[in-house]
Amino acid sequence: MLYAVLCYNSEDAVAAWSKEEEDKVMSDLAAVESKHAAAGRLGPVARLMPTTAATTLRKAPGESFVVDGPFAETKEQFLGFFVVDMETLDAAIAFAKELAVANPGVGAYEIRPLRVFKPGGALEPL
């Protein structure tokens, strides 16, 4: 079974880490990652930029619309994600709009730039 492990924390507290604290946490995490990567069990790893860098595409009947900021509804649940490489935010929004056309109705796509990305490998497609 493949599992996604999602990270939650106060971004304000995390942003206040000193360089030393930040480096320590990242290297401690990397040690865990490399153990599981060596066993061929680790897929992609990503760290997101702060929610202040986020834009959200809200699906709506007719045309979906773009709002600034992260996705904040609590009545909907986190269901999945894509990683795309785009030149601009507009291109990323256009991609999300294609998704919204393919999967219309309610819901939203939050578009959040990545801060860290390790593509990983080794895993078989599901």
Partner: protein, 419 residues
């Protein structure tokens, strides 16, 4: 990371919101601070055993409010006059706290907390000190060290600033859209002041002051409260871009390294990428403003992998739009640097000469003028300009930088006279 440092981070990140709510309850900065302090002490005592609260902000407001009410009651028993008017809405203390914490309230709470610090009657240095003390929770000692004054003197300054604010009356009415926009503008300017204080503190070799980091934190906080304000996106991007060059701005001897000479591999790529993402977001609004334009200029420097690749033409155009939006001789002075790269030193000199009256007391004016004159081979005039600059330098690093120019001129002069 130890448990205590986690608690510390949780307390400091909860601070603006909790302080904002306590200020609304008690309508008094000192009382709100005492109440928050007491709540923090209790958190430090109880969280290590019981674990941190699931919602630290709500916990701190609740505990802080109760302790504040408690100390007011004690004072009321000691003093003959019960300070009824000191309390705003103690009638509804039993009301559902969750409701009060809900969205709309806390945005205005935090904005008010920041806004009282930038009262127009307060000089810039006091605004900065007050914001760092009240909103960021820096110790008086940290702030005093940054301003190179004694702790007692800083304490006194902060007390005076608070008294002035109290005398002027705190703005407790809920702001309408216009007032809210005005407050946001004033607060953004104050955040920029905090950043600049930290930025120049670096030049004074006081690099241990976390002002720049605090300013970025406050700017992100504003952006979370006002996620659709392109100018706040621009401000945050601008601060991130300037801060991304921190490691490259000084050499091993503490001398200033000019932008064009900086080792660009030392620039913080993550901060730059976050800033570029914010500029991308801001551009979608098609509503340019001074912070966005300045961020866009900084971004053009950040995008150039080598200084020769800098897009000076675009920078010149951006400065021109900044001049239209916010005319100022300092903006024109900055544009002159781009003009010198595009059209040569003479064109830049022609642009800045008319500014002499207004900028005669400005270090950078004479520094740039000297540099341009030197490029044109007018060494005697360059020498005089550098002499004036050095007299106006406010930090040792600035003075040392000009001294290098003067030494360069002296070498040339010697080389010229020696057969």
């Amino acid at each position: 990371m130890s448990e205590l440092s986690w608690i510390d981070l949780a307390l400091s990140s909860a601070r603006p919101q909790a302080m904002g709510a306590l200020l609304r309850y008690f309508r008094d900065l000192d009382l709100a601070e005492e109440a928050f302090q007491e709540a923090c002490l209790r958190a430090v005592r109880t969280w290590p055993d019981k674990g941190p609260s699931r919602d630290p902000v709500a916990w701190l407001i609740f505990v802080g409010r109760n302790s504040g009410i408690d100390s007011l009651r004690k004072r009321a028993r000691q003093a003959p006059l019960p300070p009824e008017e000191t309390l705003s809405d103690l009638e509804d203390v039993e009301e559902d706290l969750a409701e009060r914490l809900d969205g709309s309230h806390y945005r205005d709470d935090i904005l008010r907390l920041l806004f009282v610090c930038c009262h127009p009657e307060l000089p810039a240095t006091q605004q900065i000190a007050l914001a760092l003390r009240i909103v960021s929770g820096l110790s008086v000692r940290q702030i005093a060290r940054a301003f190179l004054v004694s702790e007692a003197a800083m304490e006194q300054r902060i007390t005076r600033a608070k008294a002035r604010i109290a005398a002027a009356g705190l703005p407790f009415e809920a702001p309408d859209a216009v007032a809210r926009a005005e407050r946001l503008g004033a607060v953004a300017a104050m955040v920029y002041l905090v950043f600049n204080e930290g930025y120049s503190a670096g030049e004074n070799q006081r690099a241990d002051t976390p002002f720049c980091e605090e300013a970025i934190r406050l700017s992100r906080l504003l952006l979370r409260l006002f996620p659709s304000e392109p100018e706040i996106m621009g401000l945050t991007a601008l601060l991130l871009l300037q801060h991304s060059r921190k490691a490259a701005r000084f050499d091993a001897d503490g001398q200033i390294v000019l932008l064009e000479d900086q080792d660009r591999s030392l620039w913080d790529g993550r901060m730059i990428r976050e800033a570029l993402a914010l500029i991308d977001k801001a551009l979608r609004h098609r509503s340019p403003g001074p912070y966005q334009i300045q961020a866009a200029i900084a971004a053009l420097h950040a995008r150039a992998k080598r200084s020769e690749e800098t897009d000076w033409e675009e920078i010149d155009l951006l400065y021109q739009s900044l001049e239209r939006l916010q005319p100022s001789p300092v903006v024109t002075l900055n544009r002159a640097v781009a003009v010198s790269r595009r059209q040569g030193a003479q064109a830049a000199l022609d642009l800045i000469e008319p500014l002499e009256d207004r900028l005669s007391g400005y270090f950078y004016f004479h520094g740039l003028r000297g540099g341009l004159l030197k490029q044109l081979g007018r060494n005697r005039e360059a020498h005089a300009a550098f002499e004036r600059a050095i007299a106006l330098a406010t930090t040792p690093a600035e003075a040392a930088h000009i001294r290098q120019h003067l030494d360069g001129l002296a070498c040339e002069a010697t080389a010229g006279t020696t057969p």
